[in-house]
């Protein structure tokens, strides 16, 4: 494919010889396979540990390929010993709350940013960058005091608001990039026909921007589902613990039951795979939202 013209003209013999020596070995493909296997090893190992019986797991010479029988005992043990359903339930409430609220807010804001002149673009850019780089732990302390003062501490709403505050600038900018790609003629045509701005947004832009919204919902759901910091600081009672909090508490336990821990880890991945499935086509456009000017 990429052999140069000169090469073909000048040295056809060597090229033919080379091709004969290694018939159709796609080197990038081979390297790619090896690298992908290494990348996926931790997930594979987690799965294997959760499914193998305890004596096989606690072995000084673990076999990398499963030989013995497998069971779901570790999942059963997890159910018996920990309130895993409560953790999952709490995580689901916070995830749904965050994604719905954040989607609504960023839909409105992104439309305004895309269709009206909003001054201070450079300033917004700097503000956004500073906001993105500030450690979340920096926000956790004032948020703790704020929610304590207004009596929202130890409620799911507090965690939802904290997550939305962190994720909304990002989703707004992604969706704005998406709206910018929708021609303004559509707005104008609808408004000439007597549609209100709200009607334009709801009837025209919203149906067209579903893929962009999916990306935003995916990103905010991801942030909420994986959040450890805000649920650690804002939810005090054990009953309100989310899944990441629960998993962290298992590590903190005196004797770690590794197969049960890995089972909990696998459970935490499942919703992410569903989100990932929907989000995957939008990941690139999401991350490169707005495109490069340079």
């Amino acid at each position: 494919m990429t052999t140069t013209l000169t090469e073909t003209l000048v040295v056809p013999a060597t090229k033919k010889a080379r091709r004969a020596r290694r018939p159709r070995v796609n080197l990038p493909f081979a390297i790619m396979i090896v690298m992908t296997v290494i990348m996926l090893f931790p997930v594979y190992w987690m799965l294997l540990t959760a499914l193998l019986p305890t004596q096989a797991v606690f072995s000084r010479s673990p076999s990398l390929i499963p030989t013995g029988e497998m069971s779901f005992d570790s999942f059963v043990g997890l159910l018996v010993k920990t309130p895993i359903f409560s953790w999952i339930f709490q995580s689901i409430i916070i995830t749904i709350g965050t994604s719905v609220l954040s989607a609504f807010i960023c839909l409105l804001a992104a439309y305004a940013l895309s269709r009206f002149v909003v001054p201070g673009r450079k300033l917004t850019a700097v503000g956004f960058l500073v906001g993105r780089v500030l450690p979340g732990t920096l926000l956790a302390l004032p948020l703790f005091i704020l929610f304590q003062t207004v009596g929202l501490l130890n409620t799911q709403l507090a965690v939802i608001l904290a997550n939305v505050a962190v994720v909304t600038p990002l989703t707004t900018l992604i969706l704005k990039g998406y709206f910018d790609g929708i021609p303004r003629d559509i707005d104008d045509a609808a408004m000439v026909d007597g549609c209100s701005r709200w009607g334009v947004l709801w009837r025209m832009i919203f149906p067209l921007s579903v893929p962009g919204l999916v990306a935003c919902v995916g990103l905010s759901a991801t942030a909420a589902w994986t959040d450890l910091l805000f649920s650690r600081t804002l939810l005090l009672s054990r009953d309100n613990w989310t899944l990441p909090m629960g998993i962290t508490s298992i590590i903190g336990a005196h004797e770690v039951d590794w197969n049960e821990l890995m089972a909990a880890g696998l459970i935490s991945i499942i919703p992410m795979l569903i989100i990932y499935w929907f989000l995957q086509p939008h990941l690139v456009s999401g991350m490169t939202a707005g495109g490069v000017k340079g």
Partner: protein, 320 residues
């Protein structure tokens, strides 16, 4: 997406009414303001309020209490004096720098290798791309426990491989040893960071105009020359932006470290982000944590301003 269906909907739903149109125009200025309000309130308002509160707290003498009690406590600069004279602050800053640089450069290199490979023709490219992105979908805490198990001293597969390969017979306690803990917490962070760089750089590679390569070939460029003089310059804005965003993400990272070591052993993994948390919620020194927070905020702002100044081509802004 599909133009025809939109126009159909338009005709079907919208009914013209002149009086409504006029009314809408009169209140038009309210609309962007109204649309922006929730986002400004929650996205900027909360963060802004938090920063003000942080500054207000950092100037108080009392260490812990309710908001009222803290704000009634006498003013003092003592927290800042403590923060700046405490060697642990500077050590944390240094750990943050090592952690940030390591967890940016290494996944960048791996991500670049993946992106270059995936940019080639190969069977099952879509499937391989999806598989390579899997770490992105693993929650930080989950990635941490997976690596804690792999690097577990007695039964961990990492130490097992070291034994089998004859490199080391010791049961290295990766997360518990002062000398290895920082490297240990960096590994899951690196692993999870690869997909981000992979995606950014692959998007960059695919945006390169194929004609550039053809032109280079006509000029007799080999593989390396094409990489050096076409790929790298075309990729430069993507490299810059992905490194900046990646580093920002690493700097604020909390989950990996808190879930595994909590900043220990003996503060060996206590980055600034973790130190602020530990000061506030472990040692209950609220105002001291606030002072360290403000100090960090100032440092970060300086770095950001310098970066945006340097970014003359507007690559960062283009992504915003």
């Amino acid at each position: 997406m599909s133009q025809p269906s939109t126009t159909n909907r338009e005709e079907g739903v919208v009914t013209a009414s002149p009086s409504r149109g006029r009314q809408a125009r009169r209140w038009d200025w309210l609309l962007p303001v109204g649309f922006m309000t929730p986002a400004v309130l929650i996205g900027i308002g909360i963060v802004f309020f938090c920063m003000i509160l942080l500054i207000a707290l950092s100037l108080r003498e009392q260490k812990l209490g309710t908001l009222e009690a803290l704000l009634n406590s006498p003013m003092s600069l003592e927290n800042y004096v403590e923060i700046i004279t405490d060697p642990a602050t500077w050590r944390s800053l240094w750990i943050s720098v090592i952690y940030t640089v390591g967890t940016t450069i290494v996944p960048f290199g791996i991500g670049l290798a993946f992106a270059l490979l995936l940019n080639e023709q190969m069977p099952g490219r879509r499937v391989l791309r999806t598989l390579a992105l899997v770490p992105w979908a693993i929650p930080g805490v989950t990635a941490t426990i997976a690596f804690m198990w792999i690097m577990q001293p007695t039964y961990g597969v990492a130490n097992y491989l070291l034994r089998v390969l004859g490199i080391s017979d010791a049961d290295v306690d990766w997360f518990g040893n002062v000398n290895t803990a920082l490297i240990a917490v960096m590994i899951p962070t690196i692993w999870k960071g690869v997909p981000f760089f992979l995606l950014m750089l692959l998007a960059g590679l695919q945006s390169i105009n194929g004609e550039l390569y053809e032109a280079a070939e006509v000029d007799g460029a080999g593989r390396w020359a094409k990489f050096r003089y076409v790929t790298i310059p075309s990729l430069a804005p993507f490299i810059f932006v992905s490194l900046v965003f990646g580093a920002m993400h690493s700097f604020r990272e909390f989950d990996f470290i808190y879930a595994s070591t909590g900043g220990g052993p003996q503060g060996a993994t206590e980055t600034i982000a973790v130190r602020i948390f530990n000061l506030a919620f472990d040692r209950f020194d609220f105002t001291g944590a606030a002072a360290l927070g403000v100090f960090t905020f100032v440092l970060v702002s300086i770095v950001i301003v310098l970066l945006v100044r340097r970014d003359r081509k507007g690559a960062l802004e283009g992504f915003l």
